[in-house]
């Protein structure tokens, strides 16, 4: 129990540091959101007098010195109030995030898990059984991984959507359906997700496969595997409980890291497929100097990395009993 408290404490401090840096960093960037907004408003007509001051108030930029701003920022965060977006003025940032984050988490999260599982299973079998198919599988998946991701995505998009119309060109769902828990919407969303998923899985599976296969080979030469064979254990049991169970430990660490990057890791995919996720939103926010939105997305990325690491840290004790004691 003390261990858990200590871990959670550590991650709380890390989160606080991330939040604080997240507050100060944008303020070091030259430029001023009020000026940007003003110039945008003045493009469509002259702004009313005093508009700049009103905007500053609205964006929370007029509250005294930087420390009182910082305090204000923390209080607002506690209420999930991230301010107002400039990109979609005047939509609250929290609302934008709420509408884009699920798209990314569901699509990229599912793909990460699927890719990890397929990679681990194939890697174990390739390491344990070897043979001709494994020799062909490893270079081909490694080749897909080493291709620049956007190139692979564009290639698939060109052939499967543009030339042969198997999959839709872009978007997260068809324009003809409304978002809701209906069959029409869900089937449309799944249909739109297939091609992006395929590209993510193809591009990431090679890494898992190669890592797991190499670790399996290493584990196979361990004495406990030889001993298990001498004891007459069934091959399946040796492969899963003795070889794979030990070989998977390093991959789990890699999996934790990639889970943390679910939120931020697929900006290229969302851009290529115009997918309504948070990566696409981040790109727009940055190009629009949308401080509030950028800041909020960065914060979510940081927290998700921390959160994924915390979960794996806590799980590690179950995965590897040797780490339980040294605490």
């Amino acid at each position: 129990m003390r261990y858990f408290a200590r871990k959670i404490g550590f991650y709380a401090v890390a989160a606080w540091a991330a939040i604080t840096i997240n507050f100060f960093l944008p303020r070091l960037i030259p430029g001023n959101p009020v000026e940007i907004l003003m110039s945008r408003i003045s493009q469509s007509g002259s702004p009313p007098p005093g508009e700049a001051k009103t905007l500053a108030l609205l964006l929370g930029l007029s509250h005294g010195n930087i420390f009182s701003q910082y305090w204000h920022y923390l209080v607002q965060l506690a209420h999930f109030n991230f301010g107002i977006s400039i990109t979609d003025f005047p939509t609250p940032v929290s609302q934008i995030i709420a509408s884009t984050l699920p798209w990314t988490i569901i699509l990229v999260g599912t793909c990460t898990v699927i890719s990890f599982m397929i990679g681990i299973v194939l890697g174990t079998i390739a390491g344990f059984k070897g043979g001709r198919w494994a020799e062909a599988l490893i270079p081909s998946t490694t080749f897909l991984t080493s291709l620049p991701y956007f190139f692979l995505a564009l290639l698939l998009l060109y052939f499967l959507s543009y030339e042969f119309h198997v999959f839709p060109l872009n978007g997260g769902y068809s324009d003809s359906v409304t978002i809701g828990f209906t069959w029409a919407f869900i089937s449309s969303a799944v249909y739109h997700a297939i091609l992006p998923s395929l590209t993510i899985i193809l591009a990431s599976i090679g890494g898992w496969l190669l890592g797991m296969r190499n670790m399996t080979l290493t584990t196979l030469s361990e004495d406990y595997v030889t001993a298990a064979e001498a004891r007459g254990l069934p091959r399946r049991k040796i492969m899963i409980n003795y070889a794979a169970r030990n070989a998977v430990i390093p991959s789990i660490t890699g999996f934790a890291i990639s889970l943390g990057f679910v939120v931020s890791g697929s900006i290229a995919m969302e851009y290529v497929f115009s997918y309504p996720g948070i990566g696409y939103e981040l790109l727009q926010a940055i190009s629009n100097d949308d401080y509030a939105l950028t800041q909020a997305i960065f914060l979510i990325i940081t927290l998700s990395v921390l959160g994924a690491n915390l979960i794996i840290d806590l799980l590690y004790g179950f995965i590897d009993p040797r780490t339980r004691q040294s605490r």
Binding site: D223, T226, R231, G232, L233, K237, N246, P321
Partner: protein, 351 residues
């Protein structure tokens, strides 16, 4: 040497099984076994090895490292992995009903059934022979279920506890993980595991080598007691011939992949014939006798990928003479019908 030999003689188990057991016929009979390692040049790790193991005896196999002891142990149980392979030979095991089977001819499924129920092994590296991520209860259960799939959970636990007790471990050990045990405890667990299905033969490959001398002694006593109690046969492999002089009934001395001398242990103690056997015996320190200089054997074992027409020990042998270099060796029996043979031209009247 005499004081040392006398002391060891006194320590020999009074019921040395030699005469008693041979009458029953061998439980394991290895015939003309040849094992090679593939490579740029073929390494002949085990050459024409034949021996018998009788019921209830401890057979010692001694020799320097690199002389094929472990390869022999793995070959007998058909556990060799490439690049090692069995070139020729048989390892005939007499089943309970008396019918012989050649272990080297078994297919994968038969081998799996055969292993651990008939012949089990205690590995050299106790540190690594246990799966680090599961507790002992689970690992014992794996062994039970591999051969008795319908054994109940209670039965498994009960039997595991009994085995742990037998090797002198506390009951609570059952829920421990390997990393929580000391080296000696792990070796005890490994020994307990080898007895899960009460096999007739236990092959012990340097079971005490990685342990300190005090623990070595405890483990050794444990092995001897268990063997007396359960009457299984043991092939005990070690480089420490002094240890074998104490516990084994019969002794094989291996050099360069061959058995160079085989004899009942007390005959080796009294009358070791091969210069190599004498050499390794001369390198044992004497605990009680007067201080004397110890003599190692100068040089190292030969490269087994080279063809050696004569005696492989010739370059290191103090007694070598002309014939040793190029005349092939033969087994020379001490007397007709004797169990004691040596492969040395010194004793060959024809040379």
């Amino acid at each position: 040497m005499t004081t040392e030999q006398d002391r060891i003689k006194e320590n020999i188990r009074p019921d040395a099984a030699t005469d008693r057991t041979i009458a029953c016929g061998p439980i394991l009979s290895v015939r003309e076994l040849n094992v090679e390692y593939r490579g740029e040049k073929v390494t002949k790790a085990v050459q024409n090895v034949s021996f018998e193991l009788y019921k209830g005896e401890i057979l010692g196999i001694a020799g320097e490292s690199g002389c094929g002891k472990s390869t022999l142990a793995y070959a007998i149980t058909n556990m060799l992995k490439p690049p090692a392979y069995i070139k020729s030979g048989k390892a005939v095991y007499s089943q309970e009903d008396g019918s012989p089977i050649d272990i080297l001819e078994l297919n994968e499924k038969q081998l799996r059934q055969f292993r651990w129920t008939e012949v089990s092994m205690v590995f050299q590296s106790a540190m690594n022979a246990l799966n680090p991520v599961t507790n002992l209860k689970k690992q014992f259960a794996d062994i039970f279920l591999a051969h008795k799939p319908d054994m109940s959970k209670n039965e498994q636990t009960e039997k595991t506890l009994r085995l742990l007790e037998m090797v002198g471990l506390d009951k609570s050990t059952i829920n421990r993980f390997p990393h929580e045990l000391s080296g000696g405890m792990r070796q005890r667990v490994i020994i307990a595991m080898s007895l899960c299905h009460m096999p007739n033969v236990v092959i012990m490959d340097e079971p005490t080598t990685a342990l300190d001398v005090v623990i070595q002694r405890e483990i050794l006593d444990e092995i001897i007691n268990l063997q007396k109690e359960l009457n299984f046969s043991v092939i005990f492999i070690t480089h420490d011939i002094s240890l074998l002089m104490e516990i084994s009934d019969r002794l094989l001395v291996m050099y360069a992949g061959q058995i160079v001398e085989q004899a009942p242990t007390d005959e080796i103690i009294n009358q070791a014939l091969h210069p190599y056997t004498n050499g390794i015996m001369a390198s044992i320190p004497d605990l009680y006798g007067e201080r004397k200089e110890l003599h190692g054997i100068p040089g190292t074992p030969p490269d087994l990928s080279l063809d050696i027409p004569g005696c492989p020990f010739e370059p290191r042998c103090p007694d070598a003479f002309g014939a040793c270099r190029d005349i092939p060796l033969q087994k020379i029996f001490l007397a007709d019908g004797s169990d004691h043979f040596v492969k040395c031209h010194k004793y060959d009247q024809r040379v």
